[in-house]
Amino acid sequence: VPELSWLRMRGRQIVNRIDAWSDAVCVREDHLTVQKLLRWAVLGWLLVYTASLAVAHGEFWGPNALIEPARFDASDWTHWLTRLLFAPGVREHYLWLVAAQLLLLSLGLLGFYPRVMILGAVLTNRNLLNRAWTTTDGGTNINELFLIYLALMNTTGRPVSRALGAVRPWVVGASNCALAMARIQLSLVYLTAGLAKLDGPLWQNGTALFYILQERYYTDPLVGPLLLRHPVLLALGTYSTLAFQFAFPLLIWSRRARPWLLLVGVGLHLGIAFAMGLFFFGWMMILSYACFVAEPWAVKALGWCREVKDLAPSLRGTGDRQPRAREA
């Protein structure tokens, strides 16, 4: 019967398509280096951030920090997990938590059980952020979200072992989906920020940057007054920011537009990092773009890092040889 054979053929086509999707999501590992690069970017940022704050540790996490302490309820188990630095008898020992975070991040960066180290860092980071809650911003926020996604990803740079058997498709699937979610999250960040701006009259009439750059705390004292002399430039900047935030979630999925969009984003966030003094935030946003880098570019970037690493011992070697030559 022709109808039946047509149905059978159609059914086989659908099954074939599902199998192709299964391969793409649960078997193929096309972004191994991207995921490794993302691990370096996210953990590296947090390591530098924590080490920077650790210089003045008492001002952020100490019992005498100028930050209001939050309530601690000993009967709530989540408080023991995330508000440890408010627990009586624990808050004085905050340096152990800082040291643990630095150790976990260093080991995670070196590739020592990365998933375990990342999960540990998620916990220590939440406790430190809860204590120094007035220091949080979009940078710490996106870093924390990406840490959670990284805990689900295979960031070793090597394929998942075939010895895992039936579990392998789940591990690979979770890893690929976590990368997809990191990308979607970044797009949602820009989309919601863009939508929220549409409500603001200053964004509509193009004067938002003119007013933002008058904010005393976060405007660079040299760059701010210089830019304020050019209101037309600032109006263009205001509308370009809006345009970028709406273009990002739509065009980032096009391979042709992606590099240009990322380039504009890097420019925008460098501007925020230097003109507005939101340094760590600006850099975290730039580093989060690692999830959108194409695999060949990620391979190149890691190869370049390896070259620098290989160069370092040879330079050290030259330094060692020189005094001996002089002695001779």
Binding site: A56, I67, G138, P169, V189, T192
Partner: protein, 209 residues
């Protein structure tokens, strides 16, 4: 196994995207129709409050002023304790200074927002300057932090001080229409909160004291 893994992983991904979108959505009939329990995990683990200077960028600057009284009863000039922090934050990008500025700039901001307009009295005209009742101030958690900060500032600048006093000032930006008259030093002071002087003890400077 591959197919089951595909459908389960995709279902989880779609669920997470939908939950994130629902969490981010402003109040709407769709959001009201979905039980909060279905996406409350986003708040606990994936919380984000991303507005990126939107819809209204924070354009009014709230600042703290402190003055100290020495043992002989002589009051110092009003000092802006954030000045050094701002300078250091812009001089050294990598390091704790940028985030230290976050900490000290939050004190006047929270002091302003945590003291509701009905708690302010004896408000003057012109620059709207109001006083805060000492009992109300004493019960305010941020005021305790501000007092600790004043204790540190007075110890650093004036050595042993007997008393200190705090003020919170609000500065509005230059309107766009008056941009031609704009200068860096001239700023619009719009509102002010005044607190009674308080004695500085040896323990002042500690938040928990």
């Amino acid at each position: 196994v591959k197919r089951v893994a595909l459908f389960s992983v995709l279902a989880l991904l779609l669920y997470h995207v939908a939950a994130t979108a629902l969490f981010l959505l402003p109040a709407s009939p769709i959001k009201a129709a979905v039980p909060v329990a279905l996406y409350s995990y986003v708040h606990r683990f994936f919380w984000q409050d991303w507005h990126f200077f939107a819809p209204h960028p924070g354009i009014v600057t709230t600042e703290l002023r402190i003055r100290c009284q020495d043992q002989r009863g002589q009051w110092s000039e009003w000092v802006d304790p954030a000045e050094d922090y701002i300078q250091r934050a812009h001089e050294t990008r990598i390091g704790p200074h940028g985030k230290l500025l976050y900490v000290v700039s939050h004190i006047p901001k929270f002091l302003w927002t945590s003291l509701a307009p009905e708690q302010r009295y004896r408000c003057g005209t012109g620059v709207l300057a109001c006083r805060i009742d000492p009992d109300i101030a004493a019960a305010n958690e941020t005021y305790r932090v501000a007092r600790a900060f004043a204790g540190r500032v007075c110890a650093d600048r004036a050595g042993q001080s007997a008393r200190a006093e705090l003020r919170v000032l609000r500065f509005s930006p230059f309107p766009y229409s008056k941009r031609h008259e704009m200068s860096v030093k001239a700023r619009y002071r719009s509102e002010e909160l005044r607190f009674d002087p308080f004695p500085l003890h040896l323990s002042e400077g500690r938040v928990g004291a």
